[in-house]
Amino acid sequence: MTPEHSTALATPEDEMLHPVLDPGIEEHVERYSDADAAVGDRAYKQVVLCFGLVPVLAIAFVVVYFAVPADFTARLLGVNWHVHSTLLGLTGGLAVLLVGIGAIHWARQLMNDTEIAEERHAASSSDEEKNGFVEKLNAGIADAGVHRRGLLVSSLGGALGILAVPAVVTLADLGPWPTAAVRRETIEKTIWADGVRVVNDNNWLPLKASDLEIGQLVNAEPENLRELHGAAYHNAKAKAALIVVRMDPNSIRIPESRRDWQIGGILAYSKICTHVGCPISLWEQQTHHLLCPCHQSTFDLGNSGVVVFGPAARALPQLPLRMDAQGYLVAQSDFTVPVGPSFFERDSRNDFKDGDQ
């Protein structure tokens, strides 16, 4: 065997590499607890004390469990303590800890601490074992008759391999397939539509243009969201959530194509970040910037929602607004582009880019 592929544990060459010869295991140094019987006895008492406290704490645990009211809270060190849980943990935790401390103290102070050496054996098999193995392997192969009838193995392999196909196919119903038609009805669509009223996300009251002051931001939802329940409700809300802001029309840029999407500086944007989809919440009135709390992407609501900082790549979709007969804000249509985070099949050629008219 070449040294390159040696499996031996150490070669004579290794020994030559040692400029200082191995002096052998260092002398055993006696501990205090061995040298001085009094120290040893003290350690002994300490270990027994550790173990002896465990039943006391275990009983305390049971008493706490039944005797302390479970909803009792107390204020201490500026924190509201859930007393039942804290006391259970303190008694139980200390009991468990003491078992450990006792055992380790015993091992370190009282058990024989002379280190001993054990021989290692190579992980690999000896040549004899390898040959023996090959022999048995050949005997088995001969018994199986595969060298005369070669198709046995390959057909079995093929048969086993192909079984993966039905197994994988059974997973095809994990979820609906996001074909173009399915996407159009799900991730590329929200429940906003022409005439759907914009309602306040807190009290569900419809928003009136005249209620909004310059600089104000309102979290809003489509009024028809309330008709939905359960998963349908959550799915719809996760896409339709809206931010309505009123800015001074003279201090913002409104491109020609979006002139009639707003009413006197009242604009509506998707609340769902175009990065990975957090609901955006932090509004800086002065700069018209909206900051996403998740990864700090910053969007300029005074400039059609373009990204001014952070990892997001696309402008926040804007919802075209108009006023209905009673003066309430309503949508003109759904969003013109899919809201939320990117996906591969998303056609992102129509998103607003800085400078578009």
Binding site: V20, D22, G89, I116, E119, L174, H275, C278, C294
Partner: protein
């Protein structure tokens, strides 16, 4: 100099087997022990393993902490499953937490509140479970660093290293699926991130998203599916991998640090029974006890303060558990790059810091043992650990990796850094965008220098002894500090390691112009990388140099004691 006599397992064995009647309280096996011996050969098993030797070092405890916190996770997790309802079905809350009465929420969230407020001990167990998850990941990470920096992953332990990388990545997924279960506002935000990250994967992303979430986000299936993964699939795989990991540790026997009497052919330490069993068993109770005390006194994941999940809300300053922090940081500092090619969107801003980064990270970890042995040409088995300074390039690469990880982790808290230190968020982010590339390079260079200086110091110490700290004034008025000799034990420890000669390129063609290939050949590139990897070591003193320096001994170069 003679090797000191040392008790070896062999001698101990001789005493045990050949003595006519065992001396000790147990005269012979009886009762249930015999019953089992007649069925499963208990005595054979016990004789082979009872006095198995385990070396002792504090850093060997890190893996134990990981193992024990996993056991705590199993125990506390089992308790939680008794009450937890993995359903997104909507209910109205009527439990004993006043502030949420009458609120609509999922059954998952409701049952989490129930465990916290209506099941006695439930709050405690939830908190222990979560702290154990955090400790599990922390201990695994620290354990992996120990293995890396000491070269314990080298032959024959590469497979155990690979298992470890699997455990680390699966542990992360187990934690992630775990904190998604309560369906509170924070876990929902985490799920939203997961959804966005999955759908950003080119070509298959949307399909994977629909298959995992059963359609759109959030849908009503994800909690039940994550629950299956969290309590069955992942723990089963983890358990299997951990069992294999342990079995291999036993088969290979533990590595040991260099020292007198420690050779590649032996393992020096304490016997399993009783010392190691008491220490390791006791340590389990210490880890468990500390986790219980943490669960008692340090609240974590107070879901009732966040409220039920609402896709239109987010808790400000929301942070994932620490082990997701580095991915979070990468996602935060990544510039907003996206390609719109035809009707498709390639979301590099999410795909690169999430899927690609994790892929590269775990792949790099996984292949390292093989890369290193390719660089050094070393195919020997190793049971004596490296002192990190003696593998300077590896150590420097490790510190560079830690720096990269740490900077990304800082990126995960860029908003907190900005507010705590009154910096602008933009400058923190821009700084990190460059620092993640520059920082590791600096860390590499500095670490490598430091390792080489330490090697030089070792060499000096062996040749000239250690400084005595005593100033001596000579007759002519000069001052000097005499050196005292170091012990032969230490001298051996400082010189026993192997130093590599970089591989030399072999000819690419033989004399007939036929291309040479295959094992044994070394390409020019490999030779260059090998020189970069192991060509800078400070040569350790040779036996001749040591003898020489002692021969010309003045006070400065004392002889080794004999």
């Amino acid at each position: 100099m003679m090797a000191k006599p040392a008790a070896t397992a062999e001698q101990a064995e001789v005493l045990e087997t050949h003595a006519p009647a065992p001396a000790g309280p147990v005269k012979k096996l009886g009762g249930p022990a015999i019953w089992f011996d007649e069925r499963i050969g208990l005595a054979k098993l016990g004789k082979a393993s009872l006095r198995k030797v385990f070396p002792d070092h504090w850093s060997f405890l890190l893996g134990e902490i990981a193992l024990y916190s996993f056991i705590v996770l199993l125990l506390t997790g089992l308790f939680l499953t008794i009450w937890f309802k993995p359903s997104m079905g909507e209910v109205e809350y009527h439990g004993s937490y006043q502030l949420m009465r009458g609120l609509a929420m999922s059954q998952a969230f409701e049952s989490t509140l129930q465990i916290s407020f209506d099941v006695r001990g439930g709050m405690l167990v939830r908190q222990i479970h979560h702290w154990a998850a955090i400790l599990f990941m922390a201990a695994m990470t620290a354990h992996m660093l120990r293995v890396f920096f000491t070269g314990a992953f080298r032959k024959p332990r590469e497979l155990n290293w690979l298992i470890g990388v699997g455990l680390l990545s699966l542990g992360m997924i187990a934690g992630m699926t775990g904190y998604s279960l309560p369906d509170d506002l924070l876990s929902g935000t985490g799920l939203r991130f997961t959804d966005g990250a999955i759908r950003a994967v080119p070509i298959v992303g949307t399909w994977v998203e629909f298959f995992i979430f059963d359609g759109e986000f959030p849908g009503d299936a994800i909690i039940a599916r994550f629950y299956m993964a969290h309590i069955l699939l992942l723990p089963a795989i983890l358990l299997g991998l951990i069992a294999a990991h342990m079995a291999l540790v036993v088969y290979h026997k533990h590595t040991q640090f260099p020292g007198p009497g420690r050779t590649e052919k032996n393992v020096v330490g304490y016997p399993l029974f009783p010392v190691y069993a008491a220490k390791a068993g006791g340590f389990f109770f210490i880890v468990f006890g500390v986790l219980i005390l943490m669960g008692a006194t340090m609240s974590i994941n107070q879901v009732w303060l966040y409220g039920p999940y609402n896709p239109a809300q987010v808790t400000a300053g929301s942070q994932p558990d620490w082990y997701m922090g580095w991915v979070e940081g990468a996602v935060r500092i990544m510039p907003g790059w996206e390609s719109h090619w035809g009707p498709t969107t390639w979301s590099w801003n999410v795909f690169v810091p999430f899927a690609i980064l994790m892929g590269i990270f775990y792949t790099a970890l996984g292949i390292w043992p093989f890369v290193e042995s390719w660089l050094t040409g070393d195919k020997r088995p190793h049971h004596i650990l490296d002192r990190p300074r003696n593998a300077p390039t590896r150590t420097a690469l490790g510190v560079a990796g830690m720096t990269f990880y740490g900077l990304l982790w800082a990126g995960g808290g860029n908003d907190i850094l900005a507010t705590q230190f009154s910096l602008s968020l933009n400058s923190v982010t821009w700084f990190l965008r460059f620092a993640v590339f520059v920082g590791p390079v600096i860390a590499f260079l500095v670490t490598k220098r430091m390792c080489l200086s330490l090697q030089r110091a070792d060499r000096e110490r062996v040749l000239h002894g250690s400084e005595s700290g005593i100033l001596v004034r000579s007759q002519i008025g000069g001052y000097s500090e005499p050196h005292v000799p170091i012990s032969v034990d230490e001298a051996f420890t400082l010189t026993q390691h192997r130093q590599y000669t970089p591989l030399e390129a072999t000819p690419t063609e033989d004399e007939h112009g036929v291309k040479l290939k295959g094992p044994g050949t070394v390409s020019g590139l490999r030779a260059k990388l090998s020189a970069w990897y192991s060509g800078y070591d400070v040569a350790k003193p040779t036996a001749a140099q040591i003898a020489e320096s002692h021969h010309h001994g003045d006070e400065d170069t004392p002889a080794l004691p004999h």
